[in-house]
């Protein structure tokens, strides 16, 4: 029985491709020096799926390690930074992938979340890859403008899937992260 379940899991994994996010690097900004306050670090450490936060002064960024096999929610990282009184200037997420087919403007589920690849060529992701989230309030307003102009799809404005992908089984209210590779 156990073997059956195991082989079933392996089969599903093979069909869907494998993906798991393990870490992120985040930059915060605000009216005052974000790195001069412990607030962002403390807020990020309190997020349920965060294992460890390291402050990297040289790069002016926070290195965030996720707990293994945890349910990562990148909106929670943004919320933590905002609740600490700052905003996200950059969020790069890193994960391991196996045989994940990527296509520009295609919506797909990775590690339980929907992703929309804004700029990438058709390719197969294998090994460790890093995406930059380009949704509103995950980068500067100027950069967001640049990326939102790169796609004709409405979802980059709302962060929700909308009607475009109902046929693929993605409900219109579901969150979609817009990323670049």
């Amino acid at each position: 029985m156990k073997k059956c379940i195991l082989s079933f899991l392996i089969m599903v994994t093979c069909i869907a491709g494998y993906s798991q996010f393990s870490k992120a690097t985040l930059q915060a900004s605000g009216l005052t020096c974000a790195m001069c306050s412990k607030a962002v670090k403390v807020a990020l450490e309190k997020v349920s799926f965060v294992k460890e936060v390291k402050v990297n002064i040289r790069q002016q960024e926070y290195s965030i390690a996720f707990k293994e096999n945890s349910n990562t929610d990148f909106d929670e990282l943004k919320k933590a930074v905002e609740d600490a009184g700052f905003s996200v200037a950059s969020l790069k997420i890193t994960g391991s992938f196996s045989a994940v087919d990527v296509e520009k403007d295609k919506h797909m589920k990775l590690d339980g979340k929907n992703f929309h690849f804004v700029n990438s060529n058709t390719q197969v992701l294998n090994g460790e890859k890093t995406f930059t989230i380009v949704d509103k309030d995950f980068l500067s307003a100027k950069e967001y403008k640049k990326y939102s102009a790169a796609t004709k799809l409405e979802c980059i404005k709302t962060g929700k899937a909308g009607e475009c992908c109902v046929k693929d089984g993605i409900h219109s209210e579901e969150r979609v992260y817009h990323v670049i590779i």
């Binding site: 005052t32 790195m35 001069c36 306050s37 412990k38 607030a39 403390v42 002064i57 040289r58």
Partner: protein, 161 residues
């Protein structure tokens, strides 16, 4: 507001042997850091002086700005008994040394590498930079985060000028 932040800031430090006012001789607040030559400086050894304990880092813009004021203040009052101990939370020693030279800092400089996790920063509950504490001749912490005119006024008062 100042009183409130003082109380909040010291709520955990409040229970000292001397009473409700934190004192630098208390072992829970005392620390030893390396100065620019690598010699040890013990905070409690500065008891008896009017002291500003200043936490900063080379990468902290507001700290560098504040250094300009501290340099003027120190030059004005050093002969009258003012001492400053700056503790840098820099992780890179060279960044710290460069900043000390550039900002023309001549008072006692210590480094406690380790950013927010540095022991001195944890003992003094430093959660933002710059953070500064004014200490009187008895070693009591009498003010926190005073700036410019307010800081000078307090120092003059403590020096009896």
């Amino acid at each position: 507001m100042l009183i409130l932040s003082f109380v909040v800031g010291f709520s955990a430090l409040a229970v000292t042997a001397q009473g409700p006012i934190p004192n630098i001789a208390d072992h829970r607040l005392d620390f030893t850091v390396a100065d620019i030559k690598g010699d040890s400086i013990k905070l409690s050894s500065l008891k008896g002086k009017v002291l500003i304990l200043d936490f900063w880092a080379s990468w902290c813009g507001p700290c560098r700005f504040s250094n300009k004021h501290l340099v003027k203040l120190y030059n004005k009052y050093k002969d009258k008994g003012l001492e400053i101990l700056s503790v840098s939370l820099d992780e890179e020693v060279n960044d710290w040394k460069k900043a000390v030279t550039k900002d023309k800092i001549t008072w006692v400089q210590g480094i406690d590498r380790g950013g927010w996790d540095a022991l001195a920063a944890i003992k003094w509950q430093v959660d933002a930079l710059p953070s500064s504490f004014v200490v009187d001749k008895n070693g009591d912490v009498v003010a926190i985060n005073l700036e410019k005119e307010d800081l000078e006024k307090k120092i003059k008062e403590l020096l009896g000028l």
